[in-house]
């Protein structure tokens, strides 16, 4: 997928005016935020589990080479193959080569963010392969030719009517000629259409929520059972995973899975947690003949060595995004690249560069909700601030913004200018707002107030109040 992160600002204006998107985003609150709060409140150990989750992930990062080699060793012992890719292109080539060698025609896919990251579908389609997404949300987006807008519910921005239209257009040639309008009917039609695609697929490609070093297994969690079929029915199973996905043992995986489902969908556990280890064994009734794991670096070893190391603890639950007020206002498409929300704002500049994706970090209000819900305690606001600091250092922000910040810093460091200036300014703003408490628009700040209201200052400056308060004692 072509990244559109540099078009972030334009995309945001479009998103804010998109009525069906705004309706869909309002469902994030109910569907994810409230459900998570409810399920967390019934588990007294949750805070301890978060701390433990942080420790497990840190331990892995401290010994990442050991666990990766151990994982590789186990997969090989079971008859599977491990492939290493330094970047997206190498990863794509590995998968393309396997598909070519086994003379694949159809590929069925479980949900995989790495597949998005390396733009795998496009590459396979160029090779003439028929690539089918099996996760219902991903399938809808494949028909719509759009990237996911949410990592757990990729098609959350699509309405029933839009989906009905997509199915009608795509499935007519298969004999489905009725336009459907209920959710059960739509799900059923997709079930029927995709069922035959599973059965005819030569290669199944899935992601991995975790890789287990102890056993050489990859773990996927789904509610639909789609990924599980994708790694069972085709004769070749390929797992695309990044190097940070490894965990030491099955016990460690369980400890993290307790956090994952609760943080992601507000469930205690998803319908299916599937562990695949190597190809099918001699005598097994079913399962694939070949098992491959593609381990992708793509900038992660650099993150390991630098200021963004904490981000590698991420278990991709999406809670930070569900609790993000900016995501709640504009959705994931404004980011226009694999990872939306706060994770995207931190990760994408690491993968694509600050020049391409720096705006993402600037949209953050540093309110801190994301860090307070993150199941592995990633200090997301600190990491976003680090991107901003680097942008400023490298003079990547627009000149007016940099000048304004420099002027602000100059004034704020000089109390004898700052204090009288603020007192006057605040008094004036209060007068101008005429008691309405906020500004719908402000001269010269039209670009800012078009999509926001500026609250009018409450009373006097903090310093004035502080002095008065102290005087009272």
């Amino acid at each position: 997928m072509q990244s559109q992160s540099h078009r972030f600002k334009q995309n945001v204006s479009v998103a804010l005016e998109d009525v069906s998107l705004q309706k869909a985003l309002s469902r994030v609150q109910e569907g994810f935020v409230d459900k998570r709060a409810a399920v967390v409140s019934t588990l007294p150990e949750f805070e301890q589990l978060r701390e433990q989750g942080r420790e497990i992930r840190n331990h892995v990062l401290d010994h990442l080479d050991f666990y990766l080699r151990r994982f590789e060793n186990r997969v090989q012992a079971l008859g599977g193959q491990v492939h290493w890719a330094e970047n997206a292109e190498q990863a794509r080539d590995i998968v393309r080569d396997i598909c070519r060698r086994v003379e694949a025609k159809t590929v069925i896919k479980g949900k995989s963010m790495i597949s998005e990251e390396i733009a795998l579908n496009e590459a396979l389609e160029l090779d003439g392969l028929d690539v089918v997404e099996s996760d219902l949300g991903e399938y809808i987006l494949q028909l719509a030719q759009e990237p996911p807008s949410h990592i757990i519910a990729p098609a959350i921005h699509k309405t029933r009517a839009q989906i009905s239209e997509l199915f009608y257009n795509a499935h007519q040639k298969l004999g489905y000629t009725k336009k459907l309008d209920t959710v059960p009917d739509l799900v059923n039609e997709a079930r029927e259409v995709l069922r035959s695609r599973y059965l005819e697929a030569d290669v199944g490609i899935t992601g991995a929520n975790f890789l287990v070093a102890e056993t050489g297994s990859n773990i996927i969690v789904t509610n639909e059972g789609n990924g599980d079929l994708s790694c069972t029915l085709p004769r070749v199973h390929i797992v695309t995973a990044s190097i940070d996905k490894v965990v030491p043992t099955l016990d460690d995986a369980s400890a993290l899975l307790r956090l994952l489902a609760r943080s992601a969908t507000g469930q205690e556990i998803t319908s299916y947690t599937t562990f695949s280890s190597g190809p099918k064994r001699a005598g097994d009734a079913d399962g694939p003949d070949e098992y491959h794991v593609v381990l992708l670096d793509n900038g992660r070893t650099e993150m390991l060595a630098g200021a963004f190391r904490d981000m590698l603890r991420c278990i991709r639950c999406g809670a930070c995004m569900n609790h993000c007020p900016v995501y709640g206002a504009i959705g994931g498409h404004s980011h226009r690249w694999g990872y939306p929300g706060p994770i995207g704002s931190v990760l994408t500049p690491n993968f694509l560069g600050l020049e391409e994706a720096g705006d993402l970090a600037n949209a953050c209000t540093l309110n801190g909700h994301c860090a307070s819900v993150c199941p592995v305690k990633i200090p997301l606001p600190d990491l976003l601030r680090e991107h901003r600091r680097r942008q400023f250092e490298r003079k990547l922000q627009p000149l007016p913004a940099r000048l304004a910040l420099a002027a602000w810093a100059g004034i704020a460091r000089r109390p004898w200018i700052y204090q009288p200036l603020m007192a006057t300014g605040i008094g004036m703003l209060r007068l101008l707002s005429r008691g309405r408490g906020k500004f719908k628009s402000l001269p010269m700040l039209g670009a800012w107030t078009r999509t926001r209201d500026l609250p009018a200052p409450q009373s006097r400056t903090f310093q004035t109040l502080w002095k008065k308060q102290r005087g009272k004692r």
Partner: protein, 211 residues
């Protein structure tokens, strides 16, 4: 080429982790530390039933193996499904009687109802753990509309960690381990929960529980 990518990636990691040697990470695998397990405030069986039903599954109990066929017949009748089963070969020693039409083996997608044994069940989450093998095809867990799982009461464990201990006794993990909690579902269209996305629309447990 692939090899050199491997060496470069591991080399870059080593450059960072090398300074942190000292503790032996292999120990975490040979002697896994005791991690936090959520306390289960009740007996295991009621907990298992509560969580299974929360996930959308259902359960009935029989006192002995001989009662299984009749119980399956009753369930299918009540749910208006035909009495035709695709069973895991591991269940060959059950005498099904005349009421049910039973065939054995993996599924090609044409079966409405499957019956499989469980490896164990997990009370914490109301889950069933099923493993692949010669006698237990994985396709039976996903392709039929109704999935019936036979669980023995002594297979009920508290936590997944207990299941891993049992799995380790096999020496090698089976190719596929499925932890199943309720039927297949999706909320991908307008966040509306719909049962039966790609997998079974019904998950029913028959617990063999001698008094």
């Amino acid at each position: 080429m692939a090899d050199s990518a491997r060496d470069r990636i591991l080399g870059r990691i080593r450059a960072v982790t090398g300074s942190k040697d000292g503790e032996n990470p292999g120990l975490r695998i040979s002697q896994p530390p005791l991690l936090i397990r959520p306390r289960i405030p009740s007996e295991l069986l009621p907990r298992f039933v509560e969580k299974l039903e929360l996930g959308g599954g259902s359960i009935s109990q029989v006192a002995e193996h001989a009662g299984i066929p009749a119980e399956i017949g009753r369930f299918l009748d009540a749910e208006k499904f035909p009495a035709t089963l695709r069973a895991a070969p591991a269940l060959r020693n059950i005498s099904w009687g005349d009421g049910l039409e039973v065939s054995y083996g993996s599924s090609d997608g044409g079966d409405l109802v499957s019956v499989t044994p469980a490896f164990c069940a997990i009370a914490e989450t109301g889950s069933l753990l099923l493993v692949s093998g010669e006698d237990s095809p994985t396709t039976l867990n996903f392709l039929p509309d109704v999935h019936i799982v036979i669980v023995e009461s002594d297979q009920l464990l508290a936590h997944p960690e207990d299941a891993w201990a049992k799995l380790r006794e096999l020496g090698q993990v089976p190719r596929t381990v499925n932890v199943i909690t309720g039927p297949s579902k999706t909320a991908d269209i307008e966040q509306t929960l719909q049962i039966g996305a790609h997998g079974p629309r019904k998950l029913h447990v028959i617990l063999v529980h001698p008094e």
